[in-house]
């Protein structure tokens, strides 16, 4: 029983390994690239639209609406980063319906790198929006004593983001594996369906948390700096 697709190594040359995580990530990137190439080639500017264009517009506008609901007033500025996060995680989890596919999000290296992207993007957008001095001052917001706690919070939420996604996807595939040993007939299908639902919810949560973090970093004139997800009842 393996914990993550990192342990399935297809090809190795010295230090360089080609494991299932990298391979399936490349596959996903290929799907995204070819899909985007084909879909953007089909875009037209008239009233008669293709079904694919409608689907694409639904996805893009839906993501934009979610981002602006969190409190980012110009969602177009962030959709390149946040939308990619959502689509990547959602597609990586959705493809578990194909047999033989190992979700790359079930590996801690993938989720940690995604979380590190968020970790870098939050100060990037914060500084871009508010200026360096104003952004750094937000770390000392309630009082100066809170400075170390704010920094620790910044780091620990990155780890929480990574471990949440990893744990959910890994536990999903592991439960299916255990089910296949105990009751191999109907129950694995039910658990796969549940895993698909968890995968979608986790993709949405990853995306919405990243948006909330960016919104907290970019919002000007806040009294309490990090509005957590509990305070965002209207998302």
């Amino acid at each position: 029983m393996h914990l993550s697709p990192d342990e399935i190594v297809y090809w190795q040359y010295g230090y360089f390994k080609l494991n299932a995580t990298i391979l399936f990530t490349w596959g996903l990137m290929l799907v995204f690239l070819i899909g985007a190439k084909i879909l953007t080639g089909l875009l037209i500017d008239k009233d008669e639209r293709t079904r694919w264009q409608n689907t694409l517009e639904i996805i893009v506008l839906g993501i934009e609406k979610q981002i602006s609901n969190v409190g980012l007033s110009q969602p177009r500025q962030y959709i390149g980063f946040l939308g990619t996060l959502f689509l990547y995680v959602a597609l990586a989890n959705l493809f578990t319906i194909f047999p033989g596919y190992e979700p790359p999000t079930g590996s801690l290296s993938t989720t940690l790198s995604l979380a590190l992207c968020v970790f870098v993007a939050v100060p990037y957008y914060g500084i871009k929006q508010r200026g360096l001095k104003d952004y750094l001052a937000s770390y000392t917001k309630p009082t100066f004593i809170m400075l170390p706690f704010n920094i620790i919070g910044e780091i620990s939420r990155t780890f929480a983001l990574a471990v949440r996604l990893f744990g959910n996807i890994m536990s999903g595939s592991m439960i299916i594996g255990i089910m296949l040993i105990i009751a191999p007939f109907v129950f694995p299908i039910v658990m796969t369906a549940l895993g698909l639902l968890t995968g979608m919810v986790q993709a949405y949560i990853f995306f919405i948390l990243a948006s909330v973090y960016i919104a907290a970093a970019t919002s000007v004139n806040t009294i309490h700096p990090p509005p957590s997800i509990e305070e965002h009842k209207e998302i």
């Binding site: 471990v163 949440r164 744990g167 959910n168 919810v201 986790q202 919405i208 997800i229 509990e230 009842k233």
Partner: protein, 92 residues
Amino acid sequence: MDSLTIIAVTSIITSGITIGFGAIGPAFAEGRAVANALTALAQQPDASATITRTLFVGLAMIESTAIYCFVVTMILLFSNPFWNYFIEQSGH
């Protein structure tokens, strides 16, 4: 008992305790969340879409505490660093 046996016994017992206690808290929390969401749904059926979505997000966030415990358990059981270290030391 030699050190390998001690590590094995402690790992197994600790992983059981971890997942057991790690399930209690989120179970209570999820029960409370669902109960409150049902009350809210009964009072305001119009806001069901928002309530359900927020409930799902909240449930998944509560569940992640249980998932953290699960990850620790899996690490203890299947890729225990201490166990691997002692196996390496004993030269098997």
